[in-house]
């Protein structure tokens, strides 16, 4: 008797993680670790009055042995996988083989393609696989993440709405399963709470899809809260600063940690509906193009120089956001590295390229290399900002073919 009481005490929590696993699997085909896994510390399912403080959002990291930076993905799952394969990070069955590599995805997973949630789930699966091998995958917020959380759906594709509807369908089934358990006495929050059923001016056949998209991505929505709120907006890893658009002096003065935390709190639904000012508008950290204009002469190198000088240890800024038709490149003496190659077939359909940085802590140097699927170059390698060479062309880091006898050792 006492025994079955003990068992039944555990069942609501178990049911909850079962349903979560089932919903994940049914939508994505993956089994992801659940929050309430039995191997995590025990907790009472009803003890939710005081939520635990959100996990610390790390803004600065020491330089890893190997870092791979990946640009805008925009809903193209195939190209995303190609980019990861290019860098030897996943194998033929899409499992992590990147060892202890650190990966930075510069944001803009959403919009312009049909597989947005599939990429989000896939990267989540990879994050867990990587962490087991000592690797790390950091996904960042781009302007398209911010826009979608804000309800700005201008760059959404029609088929993406089907993906969100399918997700919402499984999510709601999961909710009703949980609601059938009397032991989970808190009723699941209705996914569509507060969301209108009709949208004047919008064609009827899309209403349901937009409802699902709002529900998933609005602040504290199940997708935004679970997958996007942990994204940093600004990152400093070793001597590189990562940001989707770019940083200006006032952003640094505002505080990089503060930017990350305020965006996180907004996505978690703690700051109302609308995004913080520093992620909106052309001079914001996710929209800025001042250092990513394709023509080098349009880039404000002296402003960049000043910004980098205010971030201790920073030698370069690595950005996405602006499509580089020539591929990944550097300007301003390679202090501005631009990695958005427009690989998504929804915009540009460019050949995947990723940036690889190998650090050498002893020599305090790092080596930047472009890994490309463009058959014209096997790899392209950048010279160091401090080592100018006559070959260096305006607007482009100079290229060293793979067969070059000696690679340039860069000290930075």
């Amino acid at each position: 008797m006492g025994d079955s009481t003990t068992i039944c005490r555990d069942v609501p929590l178990l049911l909850s993680s079962f349903v979560d696993a089932f919903v994940d699997f049914s939508f994505s085909g993956f089994f992801l670790p659940q929050k309430s896994d039995s191997n995590s510390p025990k907790q009472n399912p009803n003890q939710t009055l005081t939520p635990p403080p959100p996990p610390e959002l790390q803004t600065r990291y020491p330089s890893p042995d190997r870092l791979v930076a990946i640009g805008d993905l925009h809903g193209d799952l195939n190209k995303s996988k190609q980019a990861l394969k290019l860098a030897g990070l996943i194998d033929g069955s899409d499992r992590w083989i990147g060892g202890n590599t650190t990966v930075v995805q510069i944001g803009d997973v959403l919009d312009r393609g049909d597989d947005e949630l599939k990429i989000v789930y896939f990267l989540e699966k990879l994050k867990h696989e990587a962490s087991k091998c000592g690797g790390l995958i950091i996904t960042m917020n781009g302007n398209h993440e911010i826009m979608n959380i804000d309800g700005d759906f201008r760059y959404v594709t029609p088929s993406s709405l089907d993906e969100f509807r399918a997700w919402a369908n499984w999510y709601c089934i999961g909710n009703s399963m949980k609601n059938l358990c009397s032991g989970l006495d808190k009723k699941q929050r209705d996914l569509f709470e507060g969301i209108p059923r009709v949208f004047p001016g919008i064609r009827k056949e899309f209403h349901e899809g937009f409802r699902a998209r709002i529900a998933a991505l609005r602040p504290s929505g199940p997708i935004s809260g679970r997958f996007l709120s942990g994204n940093p907006t600004v990152l400093v890893i070793g001597d590189s600063v990562f940001v989707h658009g770019g940083l200006l002096k006032n952003h640094v003065e505002y505080g990089l940690e503060r930017i990350n935390e305020e965006v996180r709190d907004w996505i978690k639904g703690l700051k109302g509906r609308f995004s913080p000012r520093f992620v909106r508008g052309r001079d914001s950290v996710v929209w800025l193009r001042r250092f990513s204009e394709e023509l080098a002469r349009d880039c404000d190198c002296s402003a960049l120089e000043h910004v980098l000088a205010t971030i201790p240890g920073a030698k370069r800024m690595i950005m996405g956001h602006t499509i580089q038709e020539v591929g990944i490149n550097g300007v301003c003496d390679n202090r501005a590295i631009r990695i958005d190659v427009g690989m998504s077939k929804g915009c540009g359909n460019g050949l995947p390229e990723v940036l690889e940085i190998e650090g050498d802590r002893n020599q305090n140097s790092s080596e930047l290399r472009v890994l490309t699927s463009n058959p014209v170059y096997l790899t392209r390698k950048y010279n160091n900002p401090t080592m100018k060479t006559p070959e260096q062309k305006e607007g482009l880091g100079f290229l060293i073919p793979e067969h070059q006898p000696k690679q340039l050792e860069v000290k930075s």
Partner: protein
Amino acid sequence: MGQAQSDVSDVNQSNQEEAPVRNDSSPTSLEDLIAEATAFGDDENEVSARNKVSLDAKAQKALECPCVAELRSGPCGTQFSQAFVCFIKSTAEEKGSDCVHPFVALQNCIKANPNAFSKDVLDEDESKKEEEHTEEYKIIPPTWAKEQKSKL
């Protein structure tokens, strides 16, 4: 754990004659068993084998708990039970990843019976409430989604 769950402990278990449950001196909660089974590898020793038997019995008992009573009834009750028991017994690192077959079976059943687990009436007044609340959820739609304005 669990001061709030008094309703669960009031229920008396009908089939006590089920599989023998070992009462070691150790605690018998499901989570502990799962944790133990996970900690020891499959081929480890008797202890883990015993735990597995025990876990099996516990998983079966879990099905008798009031929390899942309604889920076990209805068109997908069988598929639910199998998937849930498999999940409870799962010692895989991503819990449940060794349950693909029962999960797919449950998935297919739900696809064939979309309302398998929905409470029929309950949602109706909810939706009315919703419409009253149609707040300021303004979105900026893509151009392809806009209604065509007839040009005159």
